[in-house]
Amino acid sequence: MAKRDVVVIGGGHNGLTAAAYLARAGKSVVVVEKRDAVGGLAGTYELAPGFRASVGPDLAGLLSAEVIADLELKRHGLEIFPLDPIVSTPEGLTLWRDVANSVEAIRKHSPKDADSYPEFVALVDTLAAFLKPLLTKPAPTPDIQSGADLLELLRLGWGFRRLGKQAMHELLRILPMSLSDFLDEWFENDLVKAALAGPGLEGICLGPRAAGTAALFLYQRLGDNPAIAKNLAASMDAAVRSHGGVVRTGDGVSAILIDEAKLSGRVRGVSLENGETIEATQVLSSVSPRRTFLELLDPVWLGPSFVSEINNIRYRGVTAKLDLALDKLPDGCNGVLHVGPSLDFLERACDAAKYGRASNEPFLRAVVPSLADPSVAPAGKHVMSVLIQYVPVGTSIAAEKVIAALGLTDSVLHQHMWTPSDYEREIGLPDGSLHHGEMALDQLFFMRPVPGWSQYETPVEGLFFGGAGAHPGGGITGVPGRNAAHALVKQRV
């Protein structure tokens, strides 16, 4: 194969996003994906004849509007279906996009909480609006090297000041808090608190009492959440191809090749598991930090302290996913179904995981993608996808238990369970971590993937890192891929 400008490792949504931006910038790009289908976690598979399900969590509300527009994903077939209600529980609490409707729904459970809700939403929206640019641009580095770095910090400071004194204080206070402390300040009803807390615990081996979960909660509020995407991976794949990029599936990268003529090393391409070599000037990896730096590279090119930092990244995947093909839907399966009636219930569910066991009473968050996009199931039938926490890597949970908890025993036609171990083996997620590294405070922002390397560069010249293990982290955002592509294009070759 002729020499390329860039090889992108991994055809997940970040890899495809990066490749599309690079191709759009005029680079000759090839994406190398090990699996037969593109998309990684954002891809789909055939659950049963006529039923399609997503590989990873279905909620795609965080996908950056800028990425959608820049890559013209809608033209390439992407459709986004916002979900409403945003959450519903078997106990009869339903929260809607419309705040006034939610207030009425909450009132049945707690008049006091109903009164608090609008102000709570306003605060969360204010804080999320401030955080959004912070989490969509590269993380400002505390290591000020240039005027541009300084300017970025000053801009941040200015945005911060514009929040006003009160929101400023609240932001500083809330970011390191636990979700239970944060929600306790606003609400009294267990169910209300638990229903709101759900998204803030996704993919992390922490319960609602753990400090930093309030930050993840805000992160999940950044986008048009929750929403279901149709043709997500396919539209990204099409975007890459439309700019002349090549996407190869069924071939895994076995090593990143280094040009040793240069003392400190420089990438010269990749070798594939089938023995083939692809020469390239630059390489962008969207696979996990562990795979990228510890398996595909000889550590000699990275240096001991970098390798030690990468070795110390915590993954701790705890999310299993059960995909169900359903004959019929019970009533009230709209939006995101949340099973987990109190913060203590959620905390207890996490307790087992601390000792390496799967939760006996897991908390569940389920969506029915076929309600938004009927094409994924035969007429009248449905697909439901259930996220199950906490199920640590190496453990499993009985599907029947989950099905019973959802009251679906009579309607399941087919099922498929993804445990963290399955995600590790089939998708390459270390310890099954959906976020390519736990999204806890000490692994976010300029600490992600490791301190000092949050700007998508790596110790190896010409190698860039733009997976969910990079800032700002996991979830289908496209942001790490886009930012890494920008960093790559900026580098003089």
Binding site: H169, L175, P176, A210, G212, R314, R348, D442
Partner: protein, 531 residues
């Protein structure tokens, strides 16, 4: 006569509410600068949580706080505390008995400690000193923040901008590596932080235990690494990381502070509880005592915790609503208790029988990380730990004057003991809690039960009742990131001032927080003297 007479009332330059260590430090610094100062203490003895009491005749208990390590060296020096009787005796290491009959010991002597750790892990023995040095550097990085007045992030006042400039220069001076590590310390869990260095479970458990003392966190809770540092910050006679015991018990720290304060002219009245703080037109003007007596002063400093100060001694309507909300939201969950024992003989540990240096240091019941985590799990749902973490001292092995000849006193700090119990009260559960503590300890030292002459169980509820710590929180508010630095106790009010003109906060609820450190008392005094 340092006060002036106004009408028929004395008027002081300053009144300090509470004669705990911070109140006394505050008063001493004010008087040292020439102010007339009155300290009012509800109890009949000074010290607050820093007291020695003879609960069982002949046996002296440091009833509440039990070690000295954080007390700022500059305070000891500036207030000449040794001249006023303060004598600190070093503790010899930490001994962790294990259920399998082994033990882990760390001694004052580095080589011996390495040998002990090597029995468990060569890696950890090699890393131990490097880690100590690392934490020493990190605590130096933080010390500067502790001893500065936190700048207010929303302010453009020159003093605040100068504060941020100082911070920026401080961080820059640390270099990238230490800056990142500081961020990690502030945000990571003690477990995750220690996992980067060590593999031996009992070692990590014992080290991480200092990261949970006084907090409602487990070693696996993010944010607990910071408290680890807080406990590494100790300095005695310039030696970093030394834990000390005050000769005569903790009460002698308070006595020395009181004596120093008096030497500068401070008047201390005990048995003088405060009914409320008097206000007029948004200004604090004095205090009314339980007896009905009213005393005026130009400045009032409260060393009580923020909840007690603002919610009990002041009318809510005299304070801005958002401030009151902030105070109500301030987390002050008590999580620890004490069991104090009078013993006829020393405990005899199965894993290391007989007397020895291991009884002259700290004894830690923290055999594994999971053990600590399970202790926390109990507390999360409103129960005391059935098998708790304990930090034990036998002060009489270091200072024989604490007990009659041949007999001993044992101080057991216990976690977790949540203030809020599920479906029951501490009055009902106090002795059951004491039993759980003794049963657990007796598994390691079977002669303990028969050696007990007297015991005192102090629950968080008792701490609230007896020394006024709201919810029995020993730090006057949890030391978590959302309640530190410019957020302590309430955002916008971290500079020791309060919304009431001339009222200041000088206790552990103010920056930089709890521990027998004295820093809030001193910093608040400097702030009061500035005005």
């Amino acid at each position: 006569m340092r006060y002036h007479i106004v009408g028929n009332m004395k008027k002081y330059d300053a009144i300090v509410i509470g004669a705990g260590h911070n109140g006394l430090v505050n008063a001493a610094y004010l008087a040292r600068a020439g102010k007339s100062v009155l300290v009012l203490e509800k109890r009949d003895l000074v010290g607050g949580a820093t007291v020695t009491e003879e609960i069982v005749p002949g046996f002296k208990f440091s009833v509440f706080s039990y070690v000295v390590s954080l007390l700022r060296p500059e305070i000891i020096e500036e207030l000449e505390l040794p001249k006023h009787g303060l004598q600190l005796l070093a503790l010899d290491g930490t001994f962790t008995p294990l259920p399998d009959g082994r033990y882990l010991a760390r001694w004052h002597d580095g080589e011996r400690t390495r040998q002990e750790i090597r029995r468990f892990s060569h890696n950890d023995a090699d890393n131990y000193d490097r880690f100590g040095l690392h934490m020493h550097h990190m605590s130096r990085a933080v010390r500067e923040l502790l001893m500065m007045r936190p700048p207010e992030p929303s302010s453009l006042k020159p003093s605040d901008l100068a504060g941020f400039n100082q911070l920026a220069r401080h961080f820059k001076g640390l270099g990238n590596q230490r800056f990142y590590d500081l961020v990690r310390l502030m945000t990571a869990s003690a477990t995750d932080y220690l996992d980067r260095w060590f593999e031996c479970d009992p070692l990590k458990a014992t080290m991480s235990a200092s990261g949970i003392i006084g907090t409602f966190l487990s070693p696996r809770s993010p944010g607990s690494a910071y408290v680890l540092l807080h406990h590494y910050m100790g300095e005695i006679d310039g030696v970093s990381r030394s834990w000390g015991f005050a000769k005569g018990g903790m009460g002698s720290v308070a006595e020395a502070l009181a004596s120093a304060a008096r030497s500068y002219g401070v008047e201390i009245r005990t048995g003088a509880g405060i009914e409320r703080i008097l206000t007029k037109n948004g200004r604090a003007t004095g205090v009314a005592l339980d007896s009905g007596e009213e005393i005026e002063a130009d400045q009032i400093a409260s060393s009580l915790d923020p909840k007690r100060t603002f919610l009990k001694l002041i009318e809510e309507s005299d304070l801005p609503a958002d401030f009151v909300t902030g105070v109500k939201r301030f987390k002050i969950r008590g999580s620890s208790g004490k069991v104090n024992l009078a013993l006829s003989e020393l405990p005899n540990f199965t894993c290391l029988p007989g007397e020895g240096a291991h009884l002259r240091g700290s004894i830690s019941i923290s055999p594994s990380m999971d053990y600590l985590e399970r202790a926390y799990d109990d507390a999360k749902y409103g129960r005391f730990s059935r098998r708790p973490y304990m930090d034990i001292l036998i002060p009489s092995t270091i200072d024989p004057s604490m007990a009659p000849p041949g007999k001993h006193v044992m101080s057991i700090f216990v976690q977790y003991a949540p203030y809020q119990l599920q479906d029951t009260t501490w009055e009902d559960q106090r002795e059951a809690f004491g039993d759980a503590v003794i049963d657990t300890l007796a598994e390691y030292a079977p002669n303990l039960k028969n050696a007990i002459i007297g015991r005192q169980v102090v629950s968080p509820w008792d701490m609230e009742q007896r020394i006024g710590l709201t919810e029995g929180n020993i730090f006057h508010g949890e030391l978590t990131l959302d309640q530190l630095f410019f957020l302590r106790p309430v955002a916008g009010w971290a500079q020791f001032k309060t919304p009431l003109d001339r009222l200041y906060l000088c206790g552990s609820g103010a920056h930089p927080g709890g521990g027998v450190m004295g820093a809030p008392g001193k910093l608040a005094a400097l702030e009061m003297l500035r005005t």
